[in-house]
Symmetry: C2
Subunit: 415 residues, 2 copies
């Protein structure tokens, strides 16, 4: 339904009508498979193809709309954060439907051209141009508001989907320890340890000695404090350094939620680090956000949340990190829906604390994080993103389990 | 230790001694890390670097030795089958050590050149030039002599390594059914069904309707007979046709031990067949011999056992079969040592029946099969070969299990 504009000269009216009609038609075609209604700055109201709508978008300026039509991947997010586009209703479902439109499409020529332009600009202009809403050195207080009590900022594991987040984060750590078949006294190295939850869990529950690497001061300070509180400072050593400086040999190498930030160009080097760090019968586990086919990260995310991040395909990881060193993949598990569930929990917890977040930061920051969390949840639900855990060992290691029973034994644990 | 030759003219003696010395030195360097001793046609005896030796090789002619030195990958097998090289002792360990020498090496220039020459010849000369010792239309009676009673000619699954082969083949079929989460009444298609064991198992134990494709008349005749004997002809349809002619939609697609024979060039087509054959929530499983890094199949195997076979890396399969169709890998399991164990059983059972095999065929046939079975076992033990089971589904399928407990429940089954 289109309401005509009033009080415009006849000739311009025709041109304006033509342009308005074109915009309306364009919007209608974009939302033909989405349960959303759209209202424009001039009160024009356009119904989506699926009714009843579960969300309502208002676009407050013509320029914002034009940018969105030219490059929705980047400008929907920009407009939302800047308040030029507001959304009422179910944000996750909206983004999920939006993302599902072309989940089976391969990037076409238009996409490739925009990406090329974006990449050139990204490499030549200062990154400060796009404000980064996310970095690990934002005060721990912000993350404490909505993460679980152990500050695990990676995909949890929900063997029962109705588990609480706290239990699911513990289940994730347990699952990883079992995949690594940790034994008391072994030496483990963790590349990218966050706030230390996994390193501490491994030492406490499996009696291993852990060296955990991280380049974030804020996170490390917290981790060291936690180890001290739990009397584990002699078993867990937190090291403020790049994981590429790992020396010494370890029985196990683990990296959770870091590969996405390493960058494809550095995968061969990572393989080399793993190769020199593992004993002959050493085991490894990589846990990372990935894809079913190669595609770079959403450009709004790359500009404002994770510059330089890249979610790889299984192929990209296996060919560049494992193949050169004859590593054997022993187990791969895809926990895609577990990440959707994790983000569902984070979004609910975040929304309960937005007043507090606004006090620390501002309204734009709240909107950016809301969009990032909701968009990520939608991406996992619509299969744009996957979550892979790859367990591996040296090809020449014949000391292997004959089955995966040990991953699923009850032993009094909530598995 | 080298015994000098006698009764040769002095000048020739010097040349002969020089050549002999060179041969001896060359052999010594080849066996410096292998527990084997070598005796040559002239009674020269050369000790291997690891003592005591667990095997003893005799090379009966100079020409055979020269060929072996030029191209061991091809000519050790040729000489062995032709009786120009005999081996006493532990054949598997010998081949394992031989194969381990360069398991971490990437094929160098010499290898690439020999491979190029081999490939050119293979494509231009009649394949009849190299006698094929293996084909599925060899009388079923031959395979019945040493396979398990269900005639499963693929890797068994030994959750307990001391299981009998019969139980392990049943466990393999059960494991596959559980990975596919089969439910009564569902439709399943099997691409490359061998003698029908899995198709019949799925119908009998899971109540599914199966269409099973195979191009081998002998195997299909046997399979149809088995289905009839077990009153399952109404649930299992054996179809003598290429799997690429699959039509209709199925809840599950399974292929065990066939991908190695499809050939890399046909992977995109295979992906296309799977894509059009699966329902929106359909699941698939590929079970195949693979590698940790790209390398073509042993050339003696390719000439005499499996022309056209290729064991792919995980990457080659995922990039060509899954990525183009947005399939999600949900689970990968590496059963390498299970195949070594399966071949260990087959070799023992085969050796008990060599008199009978010699009656049906001849001595050369026996040696060729012995070398193939022992060499394969050694390849899995030394990690030149892997065994992958990939479970997958459409990227857009959100009806997924939250854990893998169902694979490991006891339910009275030997899991």
């Amino acid at each position: 339904m289109v309401k005509e504009m009033e009080q415009t000269p006849p000739a311009m009216q025709e041109t304006t009508d033509g342009a308005s009609q074109w915009l309306t038609t364009k919007i209608k075609s974009l939302i033909k498979d989405i349960p959303v209604d759209v209202t424009l700055w001039d009160k024009r109201h356009i119904l989506g193809g699926i009714q009843p709508a579960t969300a309502h978008i208002t676009i407050h300026s013509r320029i914002a709309l034009l940018k969105i039509l030219i490059d929705p991947e980047l400008y929907v997010g920009e407009a939302y954060v800047n308040g030029k586009l507001t959304i009422k209703g179910d944000l996750v479902t909206l983004i999920k439907f939006w993302g599902s439109r072309d989940v089976n499409d391969r990037p076409g020529l238009g996409y490739q051209i925009r990406k090329l332009i974006f990449d050139i600009r990204a490499n030549t202009l200062s990154r400060a141009k796009g404000y980064i809403y996310h970095h690990y050195d934002i005060s721990n207080d912000f993350y404490k508001l909505w993460l679980d009590k152990n500050m695990s900022y990676t995909c949890a594991y929900f063997p029962e989907p109705n588990m609480e987040l706290e239990a699911a984060q513990v289940a994730k750590m347990e699952h990883i320890c079992r995949k690594l078949e940790l034994k008391p006294g072994e030496k483990v190295v963790e590349a990218g340890c966050g706030w230390g939850a996994l390193a501490i869990y491994m030492a406490k529950h499996y009696g291993v000695n852990v060296q955990a690497y991280n380049i974030s001061k804020e996170q490390l300070a917290y981790a060291q404090e936690q180890a001290k509180i739990q009397n584990l400072s002699d078993k867990v050593q937190f090291i403020e350094d790049d994981y590429r400086n790992i020396s010494s040999k370890f029985d196990a190498f683990v990296s959770v939620g870091m590969l996405e930030h390493v960058g494809k160009a550095c995968y061969p080097e990572m393989g080399s680090v793993i190769h020199r760090s593992l004993t002959p019968e050493g085991r490894g586990l990589l846990h990372f956000i990935g894809r079913n086919y190669p595609r770079h990260i959403n450009r709004w995310i790359r500009r404002h949340i994770f510059p330089g991040a890249y979610p790889p395909t299984l192929c990209e990881v296996i060919s560049d990190i494992f193949e050169p060193w004859n590593f054997s993949v022993t187990d791969i598990e895809n926990l895609r829906l577990h990440y959707a569930k994790t983000l569902e929990h984070w979004l609910v917890r975040f929304e309960k604390k937005t007043d507090r977040v606004k006090e620390i930061f501002d309204e734009q920051f709240v909107r950016a994080w809301r969009l990032y969390l909701a968009g990520s949840e939608a991406s996992f639900l619509s299969s744009r993103l996957q979550l892979f855990q790859i367990t591996f060992t040296r090809g020449t290691n014949n000391n292997l389990a004959w089955n995966r029973n040990h991953l699923y034994q009850m032993d009094g644990l909530n598995m």
